[in-house]
């Protein structure tokens, strides 16, 4: 199906936009990775959200989510790899799956723009962002999963399951990592290789491998939607939360400071409203 609104990210801004879209009778899908990736989930205590003093971040986010669910918001688990505007609609690549929508609201949270040494040069030549898309090319080969998202251990298990020799690296061992996947504690990574990946440098230690799966919570904005105008690393928006691409709106931390829940919810509300109007204008 083609949704009226696809929301990228399941935090306060995204859920606020989704609820607003549903209020205006629009079909809405929220595409989100694991809830534990969300900045609000990690906030131990929130004291500045009006009416809810001394609330735990995880609790607030869970309430936001159940509100969206009772409003009939659809949920799609996964990482949006890229967005392709085709004029009349948008295609969103979600892992090895795809979502179609008439408008898009970006609520990715803050996104790391810096790439690892070697990442860009070796993309598609050993560097991958998607285990389910590219895993089959690495059957019987050695791969390193650089886990930078809560769902990464599950993707590492998938790669192991299809026959890859998986090593998992992260600054800290995730609790839900399979016991039989070797873990390498490392914070600073660089990818090595000329025409293809031959290994990684993990905190100065060289580890040979055939592939590196970089599993972050969100793609860099410039890769997610090429042509999107950024300002100081944040998505440039106007008062309507419109971005430089017609039909694409943005809200929350990805549009800039302050990185706070009230601001995210307010911007999400506007973005959901304007996205609904955009759909109305373009579907008659």
């Amino acid at each position: 199906m083609i949704y009226d609104i696809a929301v990228v990210g399941g935090g306060p801004a995204g859920l606020s936009a989704a609820v607003q879209g549903r209020t205006r009778g629009k079909s809405v899908v929220v595409v989100s990775t694991d809830i534990r990736d969300n900045a609000l989930y990690k906030a131990h205590q929130v004291d500045n959200y009006l009416g809810f003093p001394r609330t735990q971040g995880a609790q607030l986010l869970t309430q936001f989510r159940s509100h969206a669910e009772t409003m009939g918001v659809q949920w799609k688990a996964g990482r949006v790899l890229n967005i392709l505007p085709t004029g009349a609609e948008f295609f969103l690549g979600v892992g090895s799956d795809m979502v179609q929508a008439r408008s898009v609201v970006l609520t990715t949270g803050t996104v790391q723009a810096a790439k690892l040494p070697g990442e860009q040069e070796l993309l598609g030549r050993g560097v991958s962002y998607c285990a389910t898309c590219d895993g089959m090319f690495y059957r019987g080969k050695s791969v390193i999963v650089a886990g930078r998202s809560a769902g990464a251990p599950e993707e590492a298990a998938y790669l192991k399951g299809i026959g890859c020799n998986v090593t998992y690296t992260a600054p800290r061992r995730p609790e839900d990592l399979d016991a039989d996947i070797p873990f390498l504690k490392a914070a600073r990574l660089a990818i090595l290789g000329d025409s293809t990946v031959r290994g990684i440098l993990a905190d100065g230690q060289e580890i040979p491998c055939d592939g590196v799966f970089l599993l972050r919570a969100s793609m860099a904005l410039a890769d997610l939607l090429p042509g999107l105008t950024l300002e100081d690393g944040y998505i440039a928006v106007d008062r309507n939360m419109s971005t430089s691409i017609p039909g694409v709106f943005a809200a929350g931390d990805c549009t800039g400071l302050p990185l706070q829940v009230s601001k995210a919810v307010g911007e999400g509300q506007v973005a959901g409203h304007r996205a609904s109007e955009y759909v109305d204008r373009h579907s008659s």
Binding site: N82, T86, D97, G124, R125, C133, G211, P226
Partner: protein
């Protein structure tokens, strides 16, 4: 002209002369399905000037290995049979037309 589905046997002859753009894809790959209509349209737009082809990496594993395709979609550009450029992942249509126009 419709997009050409290339097999191992047909590949070398198909790209041997002139400019070609070949999309390595798979049926189960969502981003590949996003790219499919873009490639179809470019096949029509560049008819008579460039070959636009597709390689199903499940059916043609030899070709995927030969060109070192390790991520899909990967679009490889050839001039007179030689690889001259490649783009990994889904790009905006202008990215493909810029590459083709630069080669023509």
């Amino acid at each position: 002209m419709a997009i050409i589905h290339l097999t191992r046997d047909a590949f070398d002859k198909a790209v041997a002369s002139g400019v070609s753009m070949v999309d390595f894809w798979a049926t189960w790959c969502g981003p590949c399905r996003m790219l499919a209509p873009v490639m179809e349209e470019l096949a029509g737009q560049y008819e008579g000037r460039a070959l636009v082809g597709k390689v199903d990496v499940d059916a043609e594993q030899d070709l995927a290995v030969r060109f070192g395709v390790m991520s899909i979609p990967t679009v490889i550009f050839f001039k007179d049979g030689q690889e001259v450029d490649r783009k990994v992942g889904v790009m905006p249509p202008s990215s493909y037309t810029d590459a083709l126009d630069g080669l023509l």
